[in-house]
Amino acid sequence: MLLRRRHGTASRDKHKVSPIAPVLLFQTVFFVAPIGILFVYSFWRMQDFRLITEFSFHNYREMANNPLLIKAFFLSLRVALVVTVVCAVLAFPIAYFISKKAGRWKVACLVAVIIPFWTSFVLRAYAWKLLLGERGVINTGLVSTGIIEAPLSYLLYSPFATAIGLIYGFLPFMVMPIYTSLEKVKDSWIDAAADLGASPARATWEVTLPLCIPGLVVGCVFTFIFALGEYVIPAMLGGGKDLLMAQAIVLEFELSQNWPGGAAISVVLLAIVFAVVAAVLRWVKMEEVL
């Protein structure tokens, strides 16, 4: 029996490799190839509206010498970092509430976190425009209740608005993995800490929080990466003054028709993304978090 089974799996192993082939093929053609082409383009350049297919570091040199791009680069990193930290701080208590306090409403609470995420980013960004504009809901509300005298103009078309939109968009990505981690923390462990005389705050700080670190890390990585590469929200809420990287890429492609230049910025963006992922994978095992 044992022998037959072992033999059976061995022979199945051979022809079961093929079910993965379609996915691998599809992904090679429509994921690896496009990024490869982008990479190649980034070493070409435009001259008099013609593509020069000669290898050079021209675009990368241009990028390093363009103060606007450097500014966009650092602003993107800063915005993504702030958004990540704010999301982590905001998400932990909610994830805790859903996992430990929601009782039979747990599933409903979880679904309620995900539902907004099912509406297109374009529509959600538009909704924030309605809220934050000078004649928007928030300003009108604040003025009519007398809290402020004149509408706040910096609410919309500013890095502040971009950050609000990004926090709103990516908070579910932070809540879900932290929740998954919290589900693995047994109530009895927290009770044990309490029985040993730890205050609820201390039990949270010294027992629950450290055990949530894998979920927290995954949430932070995704939030940071998504915030860094997001286009719709900065384009709709950020205004035209303080550009982010994604906007700079689109400007190169659409407005300047400088495809190699846009490709080079994309490659830099991708390099950051992969560096972050690689750094994190070094000390968090994938199995722990999926």
Binding site: F30, I35, V232
Partner: protein, 272 residues
């Protein structure tokens, strides 16, 4: 001890209040979006005085919006089906067969998750440009399938990891062929996970903008159409169509959840 409990009670209230605030934050934009669909003014804004259903009629008789809506539905249906069809065999093999280099394969499949949609869209545009006829619906379907594959595969993979293998063994011991086993045992028991993967893919595709924007050619999906409108005008028609979409997707979520719960309970009742 009593003191500690009272303290826990108070912090419990604070936590509950805080959670309610965050849920308020989650739903404020959506409620705003919906409220202004009923506002009679041409440009949405406070105060809400005269209410009307006129914008719904206007949106649902707007040829451009309807065309974009139907394009989006088609694209989402096709890309979600394609993603599930490609993902299912891969998930089966990953979950049940000892594969060489499995972590590497998993990593490769998940990789698109971290790549910005903008970057993938640009790459696909450069890839498709020399191929006639592909920029358009076909291009968007391919782009969205690429984006959906990782999610669909992971949903199905984690379902199959937890699958009761004894049922498969039983079917095999009873002499079922591999194909029959798949159709009569694996597929029916995986239906909730397949539905979840399909709905997730459909929703992502239906709302996706950036990648589609680059490869759509002269076609317009609904997010592209709305984006184009928002550049020029703020019209409550957009709010009306958004309200319809939100209503439909919430209804679909609830129906799917109920169906999955009922099936799960039914399976448990059948086993008992």
């Amino acid at each position: 001890m009593i003191g500690a409990e009272r303290k826990a009670g108070r912090s419990g209230w604070a936590l509950g209040f805080y959670t309610a605030l965050i849920y308020g934050f989650f739903y404020l934009p959506i409620v705003t979006l919906i409220l202004f669909a009923f506002d009679a003014k041409e440009v949405p804004g406070l105060p809400l005085k005269d209410l009307t259903l006129g914008w719904f009629a206007a949106a649902l008789s707007d040829r451009q919006l309807l065309a974009a809506l139907s394009t989006s539905v088609w694209v989402a249906l096709l890309s979600a089906s394609l993603a599930v069809l490609l993902a299912m065999p891969a998930a089966l093999a990953l979950a049940w067969v000892r594969l060489p280099a499995k972590p590497a394969i998993l990593g490769f499949i998940i990789a698109p998750m971290v790549v910005p949609h903008l970057v993938l869209g640009l790459g696909l545009l450069l890839l498709f440009r020399p191929v006639p006829g592909i920029l358009g619906v076909a291009g968007v379907v391919i782009a969205h399938t690429t984006l959906n594959l990782c999610y669909a595969t992971m949903i199905l993979y984690s379902h199959l990891l937890g699958f009761q293998r004894s049922l498969v063994e039983a079917a095999r011991d009873l002499g079922a062929s591999e194909i029959r086993m798949f159709w009569e045992v694996v597929l029916p028991l995986s239906a909730p996970a397949i539905l979840a993967a399909f709905l997730m893919s459909f929703t992502l595709s239906f709302g996706e903008f950036v990648a589609a924007w680059f490869v759509a050619g002269f076609e317009r999906t609904l997010p592209i159409e709305i984006w184009a409108w928002l550049r020029h005008i703020l019209s409550p028609k957009i709010n009306a169509i958004a309200t319809v979409i939100v209503a439909v997707s919430v209804a679909m979520t609830i129906l799917a959840q109920l169906w999955i719960l009922r099936r799960r309970n039914g399976a448990r009742g059948g086993a008992a």
